[in-house]
């Protein structure tokens, strides 16, 4: 009995020590991904991919074959909305042509060429404490740490940790450890957008009390962090107050609906970053 108790004690001690060493190693060198971590992440991501495809298949079967009762009415509504969208597209094309010609004329900024890779979300964070998800693209597709991840509506986050061959972890912008360089589009006031713990809103720090910021102002990426391409929409100002110190207290409502994300784009290459790297 005593020996058994002693054995349990030694085992607990060994396991606790092992964990403490593991945690300490990461606190010192957070950027390095170790072999065990990469292998476990890849293996588990594979299982999650299979489960994800399974649930997607069930969902697709349901939506395609079972719930087709209102398809005809829905079809008519969709046709109408397509007509409206086509009209809007023409207007947008006209605006875009005008904007392009103005841009070329004034030479305000370099043209931005982004090489992107589409990826599917296969899993979300396994703990309720962090806001990350796993996508089905990895080092085999050219994905590496710190690449920006965007959606058609705006900025999603960045790749964190060492990606596996066919999977990568993405830290959402609403994670409390996430941050991005940002601008108020209207006034070009610069600051840093960070996630707020337990909230779906973002916080914009380091915007001077002297700057003009109003509710509903668009907040876009500034490109100064070297991760996110410049000019992508982060969200709109939801609340702005004069701060006690030098800076305003600003809350930003993100444009991306993080709960509904299924497909995202990973920015593999941004011309301006490449130029900056070449210059260095």
């Amino acid at each position: 009995m005593f020996k058994r108790r002693q054995r349990i004690g030694y085992l607990v001690l060994a396991v606790v020590l092992g964990h403490v060493i593991l945690i300490s190693a990461q606190v010192n060198v957070r950027q390095e991904g170790n072999f065990l971590q990469v292998v476990s992440f890849s293996a588990l991501a594979g299982i999650e991919e299979i489960i994800s495809y399974g649930t997607n298949a069930v969902g697709t079967a349901w939506s395609r074959y079972v719930s087709l009762r209102d398809a005809e009415e829905e079809n008519a509504v969709l046709r109408e909305s397509i007509d409206q969208l086509e009209l809007r597209l023409q207007q947008q094309n006209a605006l875009a042509r005008r904007a392009r010609s103005l841009q070329r004329l004034l030479e305000l900024r370099n043209s931005v060429e982004l090489l992107t890779l589409s990826a599917q979300v296969i899993a979300v964070d396994a703990t309720p404490w962090f806001r990350t998800f796993t996508v089905d693209r990895g080092t085999g597709d050219g994905v590496r740490q710190d690449l920006a991840v965007i959606a058609p509506s705006g900025v999603v986050g960045r790749v964190v940790g060492t990606p596996g061959p066919r999977a990568a972890k993405v830290q959402l912008l609403i994670d409390r450890n996430a941050a991005a360089g940002a601008l108020i589009e209207r006034t070009r006031a610069a600051g840093v957008v960070t996630g707020v713990d337990g909230q779906s809103l973002l916080r914009m720090d380091y915007v001077s009390n002297l700057e003009d910021v109003q509710i509903d102002d668009a907040v876009v990426t500034s490109g100064t962090d070297g991760i996110y391409p410049k000019g992508f929409v982060i969200g709109t100002v939801a609340d702005v107050r004069r701060g006690d110190d030098l800076y305003k207290s600003i809350l930003v409502a993100p444009v991306v609906e993080f709960g509904n994300l299924e497909d995202v784009l990973i920015v593999l290459h941004d011309d301006r970053f490449a130029q900056a790297e070449e210059n260095e």
Partner: protein, 175 residues
């Protein structure tokens, strides 16, 4: 065989936690399925089983999340040992008593997880009492379902086998 079953249960619980949370959004994300597996395994297998199952579950959870590797592992392995020791000392025979152990285990998990982050001066997650209680209740519900399934599967399997046998005998008689 038992080890393979336990490893499979842990892997499936982590995978289901991560994939189902995407489908059911945040409500499901507040359940800690691997913790439920750790508690149930510790209750049936004792402190050493609890320790290893907790270590594995926590490690896999850490790998699939944005945090430091080892924090969940440390918390869950200590929970596994504690629940295993409690089970051997206090003889929890009733199912409800066993399930109610999930509540202190959930609280212990949160305290250890957040405590380690505070200790190493990393940005610690904010703790919301209501959220923790909600997680405890959802974990108990998941444990109830888990026990139900684990009790039903063997009887369903034996019923299926018996039915197959009866059908085979009937076929043999008609031939």
């Amino acid at each position: 065989m038992k080890v393979v079953m336990l490893v499979a249960m842990v892997v499936v619980s982590v995978a289901v936690q991560a994939t189902a949370a995407r489908v059911f959004d945040l409500t499901f994300a507040n359940i800690d399925l691997p913790l439920v597996v750790v508690v149930l395994a510790s209750l049936s297998g004792g402190p050493i089983v609890g320790l290893w199952v907790g270590t594995l579950a926590g490690f896999l959870q850490d790998v699939m999340s944005g945090g430091l590797i080892g924090v969940s592992g440390l918390a869950k392995s200590l929970i596994g040992v504690t629940v295993g020791l409690l089970a051997t000392r206090l003889m929890f025979t009733g199912r409800w008593y066993q399930l109610l152990l999930i509540v202190p285990a959930t609280i212990m998990n949160v305290v250890l997880f957040v405590g380690v982050y505070r200790l190493i001066s990393f940005a610690a997650p904010a703790v919301d009492g209501v959220n923790v209680l909600q997680q405890a209740v959802l974990n108990v519900a998941a444990g109830f379902v888990g026990i139900g399934i684990s009790e039903q599967v063997p009887s369903l399997w034996s019923r299926l086998r018996r039915r197959r046998l009866v059908l085979a005998i009937q076929r043999w008689r008609t031939n």
